[in-house]
Amino acid sequence: MTHAATLPPLLAVLVALLVVLGAALALIGSVGLLRLKTFYERIHPPTMGTTLGLGLTLIASMLLFSTLESRPVLHEIVIAVFMAVTTPVTFMLLVRAALHRDRAVGDNPVAGRK
């Protein structure tokens, strides 16, 4: 690891906490993807990784690089904005395609569950 030795301890603790929390949220999302029963339930958990998991990791990255280069490093916002715009679009397309496929085989999953 090539960090300068001038990293304040409080900032190191904060960055460590944010990074571990973000990765844990991504893991929870993926476990949910593996364990839930139907496709329409499974579409929900991965969004935990793409919203809060990604957000916390990007905040940690911004804090760390701003301290290391002693100037504001804010280009991580580009990724955050891009993912916030594209994730709902792709998942809506995917759910509509899944609905179309389910109806094509004579199964209507939103007609009411028993």
Partner: protein
């Protein structure tokens, strides 16, 4: 001291993300239908992007940021194309 803490935290985060990618890979292999596999692939893209970002923080280099951005863009385009394919049977009509 703070460097050791940060390095340990980043290593832990990488291990957690690797486990997340293993879960997504199981779903990718098991299916059962095509839309599940596409969803698992999208999750894999996001987890890989997070892993690259964590790696960049560990190396203290901003080069990995561009790699993460490219992975995010490819993930969006490929998932949108797969969804279109599942809907219509063709990507470009």
């Amino acid at each position: 001291m703070s460097l050791m803490l940060l390095d340990a935290a980043l290593a832990t985060a990488q291990a957690l993300l690797a486990m997340a990618m293993i879960c997504a890979t199981f779903r990718l292999l098991r299916g059962p239908r095509a839309q599940d596999r596409v969803l698992a692939l999208d999750t894999l893209y996001v987890d890989a992007m997070l892993l690259v970002l964590t790696f960049g923080m560990r190396e203290a280099s901003t080069v990995y940021f561009e790699a993460a951005l490219v992975i995010g863009m490819l993930g969006f385009v490929s998932t949108a194309a797969f969804a279109k394919f599942l809907m219509r049977g063709e990507v470009i009509e």
